[in-house]
């Protein structure tokens, strides 16, 4: 059995990750049927037609939501290692339970600060998406609506014929 240093483990992890991706893509390449068409070959842009430059201005709210998302993802990343050691019986026994109490308080402070951030953005209305407010026109036409309906009907019949 070879002794591995911490750096070697990281290196193995990187090689493994790269190998996993390459293998999956290779297997896909071999197995899948290849029937390209124009729609399939265009850039995928969340279902929208990619018609102009990608450097357009996005709504600033995307960034706010993305930042808040990152915040809580980071929280989760930190909570996983915490959860694995928090209830470690050996550590708790050697410290008369101080370990568990300590890490619990520590994590709740951490979550509390993040929660404060969420409360803050929520109360400030950052999470409300702009809803379109249709404004009713105050203009009143003298031509009755039935006249338009009549014209529409006429042009429809013309098209049909």
């Amino acid at each position: 059995m070879i002794e591995l240093s911490g750096f070697a483990v990281v290196l193995l992890f990187i090689i493994g990750a790269a190998g996993f991706v390459v293998t999956t893509m290779l297997v896909g390449k071999i197995l899948r049927p290849v029937r390209p068409n124009e729609e399939k070959n265009t850039t995928y842009e969340s279902g929208e037609d990619p018609v102009k430059s990608a450097w357009g201005v996005f709504n600033i709210r995307f960034y706010v939501i993305a930042l808040i998302f990152l915040l809580f993802e980071t929280e989760l990343v930190f909570l996983f290692p915490w959860a694995t050691v928090f209830a470690n019986e050996e550590m708790n026994a050697s410290t008369d339970g101080l370990w568990g109490m300590f890490s619990l308080v520590e994590t709740f402070i951490f979550i509390g600060i993040l929660l404060l951030g969420l409360v803050y953005v929520w109360a400030k209305g950052m999470l409300d998406w702009v809803k379109p407010k249709p404004q009713k026109s105050t203009y009143r036409s003298r031509i009755p609506a039935s006249a338009y309906a009549h014209i529409n009907q006429k042009s429809y019949e013309k098209k049909q014929a």
Binding site: F102, A123, K124
Partner: protein, 479 residues
Amino acid sequence: MVLKDQLSHIIESLSQVGFEMVLIGGSLLLLLLGLIAKRSLVSQIVYVLVLVLAMTLVPLPTDLGVWFGGALAVQELTWLFRLVFSFLGVWVVFYPTANRHPFEYYFLLLAVIAGSAFMLSAQHLLVIYLAIELTSFASYLLTNFNFEKRSFEAGIKYLIFGGTASALALYGASLIYGFTGTLLVSEMDFALVQNPALLNVGLLLFIGAMLFKVSLVPFHIWVPTTYQVAPTSAVAILSVIPKIAGFVLLHRVLLAVDVHTQYWLYVVIVAVGMATIVIGTLGALRQTNIKRMIAYGAIAHSGFLLGALLIPGETGVVAFAWYALAYGIINLVAFYMVSVLEDRQLLDVKDLAGLSRTEGYFGGLITIVMVALIGLPPTVGFTIKFYLFTALWGWYQTVVDPWIMGYLVVALMSVVFSLFFYLKVPYFIFLKESDGDVQSVTNPGQRVIATIFTLVLLWLFISPDILNNIADNIKSIAW
């Protein structure tokens, strides 16, 4: 150390950072209050209360030591500057700058002070990095608090410079860790490294982040624009508190590296200091905007403070502490005057022409502050510069190093040149005639506050007991 001892050590260490804990807790409370309360007076009161409470929790200089497994070293200077920071921080509530989001504004100011307080004692590479980042991020946001187009531009520039500096610093820290095998600055032994070329690169990169925080050349580029557009009360804090903290931190790192045995680094630091003084002074000569002029002056002052770091022993630490303290007070006063003028849109020196007809008294006070910034009697500006130059001269006679002589000459020349730009303000107020009508600028309350501020500068010159007391307390420190 077994786990149980480690935990009780950490819990015991918490009593030493009561100051920082109150600042952080108070800032979070302020943010929550902002969701309920609407009046900006509430934010100011809570801000002052938090600072005063924090001040009472500063551990006494009898109770110092190394805490959190060596990550924080609480020294006499930590004690002194924690008190100074909270004291200086309180005064910005008197500035007449209008705030659009007062609760967030004071929240960020508290964050700056808390980050700087951590910089005072941090000696773990990652804690140093976190402390610098906490201060920086709050500063980037504070730059934008006038909510104008120009301030966004300045804020983005500041953010990009700062981001680059901190990324490089992080890389430098990783190199230092790789070569020395420890993250604790106090445990590093640079003499042990056989081939230190790469280590030295890492060291330079890491020191760069601190040079950025204390606005030394070549990391000074953000200063003039940021100071010009940021709210004046924020500038008063930013130009003093992170700067002093950055110098204390820089000194700790330089001491760990043992800068006096690493001659190349010594020369680099001296050259940086000289370039800072020259560029700050020459840059200020051309300015007509008062805020921008004082910003360039603040760059030059950074060069002076760096000089004090190079002098080992008692004279060095006393020169540094005096200079830092008095510079803090002078800057706070100067920016108070500026904020009063800014309130009436008088920021260009030409706008001040003939102001003496209505504001003779206030003009006199401004003159005293400018004299203090130059470093002439009868103000405390003279005391500190005189002591600093004496200390530099003493150190030159000990080592007979032409670099120190050069430093002294450059510093003295800078004082002469600074006469030209600082005195431009009184010149326009008293000697120029204005074309149009001159309105009165100040109200009685502002005149009273300005008088109190200015009297402090004169009083510290006439009876420097406070300065001497401080010197007695800190001169035993390892510097």
